[in-house]
């Protein structure tokens, strides 16, 4: 990696850590421990299902909230606080800065997810007293959640490159919700004709298809995720986030820092 991108990324990661972003791990730890103890007491044979479902949903939601709320401020906060002036007057290109910020926040989210994943597996071990081969599906689900984060951070960066932080948060969250319903949108596009059909088709392909990243239920049942889907989702997430970041860079390159 370009060293300047690495320096910006590390500074972004350090800022997130010092701003106590990782404190969400405490809330997650409390939640997953309480869930494990509770389901261990009351349920019969569904402990695994409940722990995986609850754990992975929490990993996803905690991460998405961080991705949106820090993502929208990655560049706009630097412009507002004018910290950018002393960075961009150095041999740092604007695209390097944007990519560095993106890498820094996704790195923070990966570290966050790593610790949460440990929590999920500890809870699984607590309720099932052992780990089994089918638990590997949980790892795939976690990998898909991280891919989701890449897209959400890229979208937050894209929107924040031309709109206010509040509007950027609204746009990104709206796309996250619509993206989780992308399969339904595609189904609707297939059965609709005329202008509405065209609009639905365009929308269905424009919004990020988060529904294909959601394999939490399969993981909870211990079903293996097809390798094709892993490959497809990985390529899709990389391509989609690369496009959103490119858009953010193009807009940011032309922006006057008043």
């Amino acid at each position: 990696m370009n060293s300047r991108i690495a320096f910006v990324a590390f500074n972004t990661f350090r800022e997130a850590v010092r701003d106590r972003v990782l404190y969400n791990l405490i809330a997650f730890a409390v939640l997953i421990s309480a869930a494990a103890i509770l389901v261990g007491e009351i349920s019969i044979d569904v402990e695994r299902l409940v722990v995986v479902n609850l754990g992975l949903t929490a990993v996803s939601l905690f991460g998405v909230v961080i991705a949106i709320f820090i993502g929208i401020g990655l560049v706009s906060k630097e412009i507002e606080k004018k910290t950018l002036y002393t960075v961009l007057s150095r041999p740092v290109r604007r695209w390097e800065f944007v990519i560095g910020k993106f890498v820094g926040l996704t790195g923070t989210l990966i570290v966050n997810t790593f610790f949460m994943a440990i929590g999920v597996f500890l809870a699984l071990f607590y309720v099932a007293h052992r780990l089994q081969r089918s638990d590997l599906a949980v790892l795939t689900a976690l990998f898909f959640i991280v891919l989701e984060f890449l897209i959400v951070v890229a979208l937050a960066l894209f929107f924040s490159s031309f709109s206010t932080p509040l509007m950027s948060a609204v746009f990104t969250f709206a796309l996250f919700v619509i993206g989780n319903l992308a399969d339904d949108l595609r189904g609707f596009a297939r059965i609709t004709s005329g202008f509405a059909g065209i609009v639905a088709s365009v929308l269905a392909f424009l919004v990020p298809n988060f529904s294909s990243f959601n394999v939490i239920n399969q993981a909870a049942h211990g079903d293996a995720v097809p390798e094709r889907l892993i490959l497809y989702n990985t390529l899709y997430a990389l391509l989609y986030s690369a496009m959103a970041i490119s858009g953010a860079v193009l807009i940011f390159q032309r922006r006057n820092l008043k």
């Binding site: 320096f7 002393t86 007057s89 041999p91 820092l257």
Partner: protein
Amino acid sequence: MAAIEILGLQKTYMIGFWRRRPKTALRPLELTVEEGEVFGFLGPNGAGKTTTLKLLMGLVSPTSGTARILGMELGDARVPAQIGFLPEQPYFYDHLTGRELLTYYAQLSGVPEKERSSRVNTILARMGLEGSADMQLRKFSKGMLQRVGLAQAILHNPKVVFLDEPMSGLDPMGRREVRELIQELRSQGKTVFFSTHILSDAEALCDRVAVIHQGQLKGVGAVADLTSRSTGTVEIIFCATHVPQALKAICSETRVTGEMVNAVISQQQQETVLDVLRRERIQLISLTQVRSSLEEFYAAQVRPKSSGAGVGA
């Protein structure tokens, strides 16, 4: 070679949401700063000083025109390594300590890893920040932050240093330290381009100054020339308890202090006044030609309906 050549740089912003209309922040600016010069960019608030600096730093793009720094066009990837910049009222990452911030900037400026630590330590010592180097910037006072700002601007040993209002908000000691630093940079052969509205600082430090007002360059001149020009008046001090009747019509700005009279007369009236003093046996204490000050030059440029540039570049 010229350190900075500004060639018709102009900036117009579009303002308003529904009815967009242009607002000129900087009219076409032509200015040259030679290598090794300390150049003062003077003007009231909102004159276009910061806009000019942001254009030179590539933070805003010009509507038209261009500039060259050390012979390289704006946007040339080699330029940023050769320049240092202190923005007005600088903000820094307050989650970092002074040492971490300077190390980060050294990394971004391409200071080799082997030299980074020693360079940061040297600059911290030079700015008197060794004692607070490992404290987070959120605990720094305004004066300390300004010192950090100056440190980051010269950390990578740039050839041209741009300072936007470096003395603003500083106490007298802080201002003195900045003045000493600028003099030190001059002695190292660096070019310093700084904007200010504190004229005494500009007069004490600058080789040349330019005055900008309402986005337009009003005048450029060497400080030595501007402050050595005769105003055509003479200050006279003599021993008396009152102004003699014969001089009342000639003298202006008269001030009587005890047994001493201080007055200003035009140079043409000098002999007449001396004759009166001789005739009335009044002791002359001093007779000094009044030189123009930078303040007068500045005021002449920014005064409403003032005419053109003062002196040539």
